[in-house]
Amino acid sequence: MSTTSSTTVDPADLVDQADPLVIGGRIFTSRLLTGTGKFSSHQVMRAALEASGSQIVTVALRRVDPTRAGEGDILDVLDPARFTLLPNTSGAVTAEEAVRLARLARAGGLGDLVKLEVTPDPRWLTPDPLETLRAAELLVADGFTVLPYCSADPVLCRRLEEAGCATVMPLGSWIGSNRGLRTRDAVEIIVEQAGVPVVVDAGLGVPSDAAEAMEIGAAAVLVNTAIAVARDPVAMAVGFALATRAGRLGFLAGRGAVRHEADASSPLTGFLS
């Protein structure tokens, strides 16, 4: 038996390796996706993203400025060797706008992976189900790997999957709200039905929210605001990374049945045997 590996390998790493997340044919070992908005600086953002262990990082195309490449643009900070960049269409209010943004991004060399966001309501930033579905159909037909941010609606998630989306990304609660997994009951149905990974996106406020989503079978979670606006974003990123793994392990291990009363160790009918 090797004397080094047993002391340096975290058993949870072995689980990650044996239980990869597959999105659109790409394989990932981290199930925590992170966003890049609301950070105080690019330096803090990079430190938090690295601490999170995330392999998929989403960036708003409206924040990307190709004319400033190499001069402090947000993409300069994200090492493509380390992170799979997931451009998102936030700010789009119609399917056409989202499609146009995704195409511009692809033409600009950002690849064909896209997080679809169509949010015509600036107050709650809730996704427009009709426009999202329409955009998903257009983008899939155009060869994109589409990860749609959507309402926690079981039928909508079915429809998005049928449209060829690589995941569905139902919201946990309103984006940026840190309110936690308010849509738990709906997400449970979505997870049970889904043939693609379910990524709980938006609203997760503390690490235990991520653990809760993972325990009920989400394939991954996406967290941004909770990390970005924490007093210590790096520590919060680590917290979410640990909780995401803990939740996944809890799911894989299979919890026992929930009982309302104690289960007597000496059954009352034991005398029959």
Binding site: F39, S40, V93, R123, V229
Partner: protein, 374 residues
Amino acid sequence: MTTAPGRFAAELAALDLPRVAAVSHDATDGDVDRALGAEHRSIDDVAALLSPAAGRRLEELATAAREQTLQRFGRAVRLFAPLYVSNACLSACTYCGFAKDLDVVRRTLTPAEAVAEAALLVQRGFRHLLLVSGEHRVEVSADYLVDVVRRLAPEVASISIETQTWSDDTYARLVEAGVEGVVHYQETYHRERYAEVHVAGWKRDYDRRLVAVERAAEAGVRRLGIGALLGLAADWRHDVLAVAAHASWLTRRFWRTEVTVALPRIKPSASGFAPVAAVDDAAYVQAMCALRLAAPDAGIVLSTREPAALRDGLVRIAVTHMSAGSSTEPGGYAHPGESQEQFAVSDERTPAEVARMLEAAGYEPVWKDAFSLR
């Protein structure tokens, strides 16, 4: 001929602002406690936050406002620059350096000159521009604006306008050309005072101005900027309450539209106008805090009218959108000092200096947070 009152005018009349303004003077500590603790704040709660009782608890207000700002907007501040295309004006507003009867050097940029000014601003880092003009329907016609916007749209991610109000299809044409935002400050929501300071031109028509915001929203403008010019009316609390009510109404009525609010204070200008009631810095900060707590989702805009120290302080509390390195005269970026400015700026730092201040304060200066609509 004057314009018939729009829907918000009716709402405002029903609100009985004089009664609410009285609350803003008489609220007790208990009212302030309730207003601070409320999850959804009524207009009476906002009045309590504007009260002298709340003014004695400014640090508490600022803490609550800061928390709200961080939650909704994060540690990021969007930077923009005003681009004055003309100071020609057919309106006479007693406080404005562009008022039609003032003997000042007038200039309207040609579309090519406007593009050249924009290029300078782009060079300085800006991707969000606000086109500003006086009210001159011949020199700054709808055709002129559409032309300028079309020329800028490929280079500038976000274009907003602050011009005269329009009663025809101009807003729809501007949206089509690539305008993202329209800014129309009511200046004062107090009808009688409004009539005293707006003495000639279209701007004299209170209802034309107020309804223009609704017309812009109906035409598909994505971002509406509203505000009041503090120092115009005797009771600043009245106008802050009206702005809060207006923002709330617009948000409910036009669910696709984002609202930004601003509370500029009167600055010295060629008009020689003196504010009737100066709003001191502490009251100003209180107004900003109350507005943030009244309208948690609204961007709050602060221009270079205000001095550097105050801007630096307010960015930590409530402000989310800032101009920087501004010139308020047409052509003033390429050729400063050749025509009349609208008002004197106080914060004269360069855009890069303002960006460095933000970074030092723990905020990311956001130069681009939009995509070209055309």
